[in-house]
Amino acid sequence: MSTPVLELSGISKTFGAVRALSDVDFHVGEGEVVALLGDNGAGKSTLVKVISGAHPADSGGVITWDGKPVSISSPADAQRLGIATIYQDLALCDNLDIVGNLFLGNEKLHFPGTLDEVEMESRAMDLLDSLSVRIPSLRVPVASLSGGQRQIIAIARSLLGQPRVVMLDEPTAALGVAQTAQVLDLIERLRDQGLGVLLISHNMADVRAVADRAVVLRLGRNAGNFPIAETSYEEIVAAITGAADNPVSRRSERTGTSALATEDK
C-alpha cells in the first residue's frame, strides 16, 4: 500500500475526566475498506467524530492527509479535505424528492438565481448510474423509499462533494437482508472507484463481506489491526472483548466447530 490518504497517529481525546481515546493510530488508503470495530464505549464514535471534525482531538496527536500534516478542527475542515460522514440517522428530508435531497444545501442555480432542476436531475441520474443504483423516479419524496434506498441516497449525497474518504456509521443497522446487500454492493463500488471507506458495524458478517482490514478499539485504545482475509472470527472477537477467554471461543472449543455458525461464507 502506498501512502495512506488519511492517517492518524497518537490521537487522544478526553471528555472531562474520561479519556475516550488514548494514543490511537488509524489509517485508511485509496480503494480500501476499513472496518472500525469495538464494543459499546470502545471509542468508535469518538474516533469518527474526531475525523469528521465534530470533536477536535486533544493536542499531541498527528493527522496527515496524503502524507501532509493537517488539522481538523471543524466539520467544514473535514469536508474541505474530502472526508464525508454518513451518520446512522440519515438526515434526509422526507418531504423532499430524491433530487432535492441529493443537492440539499448545495443546489445548482441558473440565471435569475433560480434552481436549475434540469441540471440537478441530470447530475443525480449520472451519479446514481455510476453507482449502479436503479430507482424508477427521482421525483418521489424520499419518505416513500425503502430503508436501503434511503441509505443509498444518503451515501450518494455525500459523494457529490467528491470526497476521498467516506465514513459510514452503522450503515446496515435496521436494514433487511436484501437492503443490506444493496448497501454492501454500494460500498464495494465506492472502493472500486478508489475511495477510502471507513465502516463502523456491529455486524461481523457485513464486515467480513466487504472490509479489507479491521481496526479494533477497546476502551479507547488500539486493540488490533487485522487483515480480514487472514484473520478468524475468534481472533477479532477476542480483540474486541479483550480476552482470548470469551463466550464465543469457549463455545467454539466445546463444540469443536467454528463459532460462527451464522457466517455467510
Partner: protein
Amino acid sequence: MTQQTPVSKAPAPGGAEPAGPRRDPRLLATVASPKGWLEAFKRNVRGGELGAMPVILGLILIAVVFQSANDRFLSPQNLSNLSVQIAAIGLMTTGVIMVLLLGEIDLSIGSVAGLSAAVLAVLAVKQGLPEPAAIAAALGMGLLVGLLHGFVFAKLGVPAFVVTLAGLLGWQGLHLYLMGADGTINTSPNGAIALLTQTFFVPFMGWAIAGLALALYVVSVAVVERRRRQAGLPYKPPVEILFRAVLLALPILGGVWVLNQYKGVPLAFLIFVGFVVVLDLVLRKTRYGRMVYAVGGNAEAARRAGINVDWIRISVFGIASTLAALGGIILTSRNFAASVSTGGGEELMMAIAAAVIGGTSLFGGRGNAYSALLGGLVLGAIASGLLLLQMSTSVRFMITAAVLLIAVILDAASRRGRKTHARGGA
C-alpha cells in the same frame, strides 16, 4: 416536493417508445392523449395525489348550491366584491402558509394586522404623515414584529406557539393603546390607503395582465421541458403543455371576463394574487424556498446540509408578519377606518382555516402558496353566499367548521393513500 409533477406523468412521444435511454423501464408511460392523461389522473387519485382537485370540486359545489338558492351569487358584482373581500385575509393566509411549512404556527397574525391598521391610521391621520409613508411604516412595523417573534423562537428556543400567543395578546394590547379613547380612526376616502381597495383596472389592463401571465407560463414551461428533453430526462410533450395552459387559462380568462363585466379587475385582488404567485415561485424555484421546505421536513437534516436553520425561521416569521400587516392595511382601506376591533375577530381563525382547506399541512414541509388563494376563495364564497341568503354569522361559523373538518379528513385519507401507494405519507 409534493407539488412537483411526478415523472410518471412525463410521457414518451408517440406513446410506447421510450423517451430516451435514461428512462427507467419500470416507470409507467403516459400516452400523450386525453385517454392517457385520464389514466394518469386516475392513477394519481388512487395514489392519494389529489392536489387541488377536492378544493376545486368544493368551489364548484359551493357555486352551484348558492347560485340555485340566489341567482345573484354568480353575478359580476357579487364576484367582484368577493374578490376584494378575500384579499385581506388571503394575504394573512399567505403568510401563515410560510409558517405552517416550517411546521410551526403563528397565532399573532390577527393582532399584527390590527396593530398595523392602528399604526397606519395614527400615522396618516393623527400625525399627518403622507399616506404612502404611513403604509411603508406599517409594513416595516410588521416586519420588525415578525423578526422579533422569529428571534425569540429560533434563538431563545421558546416554542412558536407560545411566542405568537404572547404576540396575540401583546400586539392587541399595543393596538388598543395606540387607538386611544376614540375606538375608531377614519382614514381619508380618497387617499393612497383608500385607493388600495377602490382601484379597478380598465378591461384592457385586466386582459393584458392575464395574457402576459399566461404567455410567461407557457414560455417558461416550454423552455424547461425543451431543456429536459435535450438532457435526456423525462419531459412533457408540447401537446401536454398546451393542455395544461388551457386548463390554467380557463379560470384566469374567465375570472378577468367576469370582473370586467362589473368594474374591472380590483387592485386589492391583484395584490393578493400577485403575492401568492411570487411566493409560489420563491418556494418552488429558489434556494430559499427549498430551504424552507427542508427545515419543515427535517430541521436536523437541514442543519447538517449547511442550512442556517435559525435564519430561515426568523425570516419566515418576518415574512408572515409583514403579510399580516399588509392584510391589516387592506382591511383599513376597505372600511375607510381602523378601529379597536380591526384584526381582533375571526381573521386569525379564518386565515389558518383557509390555509388548511387549501391543502397545507399543519405538520410542516407540505403545502404550497396556492392554498391561500383556493382556501380563501372557499371561505369567501361561503361568507358571501350566506350573506346573500341573509343567514347570520352563527350559521357561517358552523358551515366553515364543517368545511374545515372535511378538508382535514380528505387530507388524512389521501395521506393514507400515499402511504399505501409508496408515495410518502409525510
